[in-house]
């Protein structure tokens, strides 16, 4: 895992083209909403939708959300998707996916090791790899991930309509080695045992990947919330766990990130500075 650089998949909807980009100067924004907002400021003239994950997605329990940022009628929106999307993005090997511009025709985007733009008459169920894919699709009743998980409110759905995106299939096939197995397992078990600190009750709904709760809120996503938690990208209901700088530092450290406590504490200030650019 590259702890210094951020891997970005840039998709130009107008030209049906994609490009893998590496940014070396985005480390301070950690990931998730921090990374997403910085990319939004870089690409703001292209009116992008930016999906981003954080360093803990795929690695630690309750880090189960995907950040989505975009501009809506002059305002910057940050919303958070549940379901399996954060795992699929992480295992695509990217930190963020940028959807830039507007497609000339209704489009279906298939993202795995490559990016392809499919014809509308193809059955999306036959694309992507079972067990490793998530399908985000504009349906009659709204925008759904795997037919169940939705973003909060309907603003992202409107953005998909504007950009002529019908569906996106994400397939994550990359794996990462565990650097310090013993320490990693210790921290993982410790966090999972803090289930009583979750501010939501267990339920019998479909759960987000990496979260055992199956809570009643899993299907509706989140909007706004704790900046650090959403840089990582943890679930809001795990705020007690992932707003604890000591815990966060341990998690990042065992994954090979060289952040200091000060770096982690500074992230909200950097994000406030980006937001000020938009106001």
């Amino acid at each position: 895992m590259d702890s210094l650089n951020r891997q970005i998949l840039y998709i130009n909807l107008e030209k049906n083209e994609s490009e893998a980009k590496t940014f070396s100067e985005l480390r301070s924004y950690i990931g998730g909403v921090g990374l997403g907002l910085k990319l939004l400021s870089i690409y703001k003239n292209e009116d992008p939708i930016i999906f981003s994950v954080g360093p803990l997605n795929g690695f630690f329990p309750f880090a189960s959300k995907t950040s989505v940022v975009f501009q809506n009628e002059g305002s910057v929106e940050d919303i958070y998707f549940g379901g399996s999307l954060s795992f699929r993005l992480k295992f695509l090997g990217v930190d963020a996916v940028i959807l830039s511009g507007v497609s000339k025709n209704p489009t279906v985007i298939n993202i795995d090791d490559t990016v392809s733009f499919m014809k509308m008459n193809e059955d999306i169920k036959f694309h992507g790899l079972p067990g490793k894919r998530s399908i985000l699709s504009l349906e009659e009743k709204g925008l759904f991930l795997d037919g169940f998980f939705q973003p909060p409110e309907r603003i992202l759905e409107q953005k998909f309509v504007e950009k002529n995106i019908k569906s996106i299939i994400f397939t994550g096939s990359k794996t990462f080695p565990i650097i310090n197995e013993e320490r990693y397992q210790q921290i993982y078990t410790e966090i999972l045992s803090r289930i009583n600190e979750m501010s939501v009750q267990k339920g019998d709904s479909p759960s987000c990947s990496g979260c055992p709760m199956g809570c009643l809120n899993s299907g509706v996503g989140e909007i706004g919330g704790n900046i650090l938690v959403h840089c990582l990208v943890g679930c809001s209901f795990a705020e007690k766990i992932y707003s604890d700088v000591g815990t966060v530092f341990s998690c990042l450290n065992v994954l090979g990130y060289d952040y200091t406590h000060e770096d982690i504490e500074n992230a909200p200030r950097l994000i406030a500075e980006i937001l000020a650019e938009f106001s």
């Binding site: 490793k132 795997d146 096939s173 990359k174 794996t175 990462f176 759960s207 990947s209 979260c211 199956g214």
Partner: protein, 90 residues
């Protein structure tokens, strides 16, 4: 000789959290979905989202107790094949 195996006892309980996938992959020294001995398939043909637990028999070569234990909804059961077959395997 006793042989214990991991069975999917209550497939309908699966909530799709994929903690079992993470566990089996961790035991293989990696993080990710590729090459996992357990896959969680998503199905939503009937209007709701449901999950199918797809297991490679090789899963019985890893620590299956840890896999059964990590599942929050009790999908798995560890079965003793000798008992199941009235000692015929011995």
């Amino acid at each position: 000789m006793s042989k214990v195996v991991l069975k999917v006892k209550f497939p309908g309980n699966c909530n799709g959290c994929e903690l079992c996938v993470m566990e089996v992959q961790k035991q293989a020294g990696k993080i990710g979905l590729d090459g996992s001995l357990i896959r969680i398939l998503r199905e939503n043909d009937s209007g709701g989202l449901s999950f199918v637990v797809d297991m490679d028999p090789k899963v019985n070569e890893v620590d299956i107790e840890k896999i059964a234990k990590i599942c929050p909804t009790g999908v798995f059961e560890i079965q003793d094949l000798v008992e199941e077959n009235n000692g015929l395997l011995e």
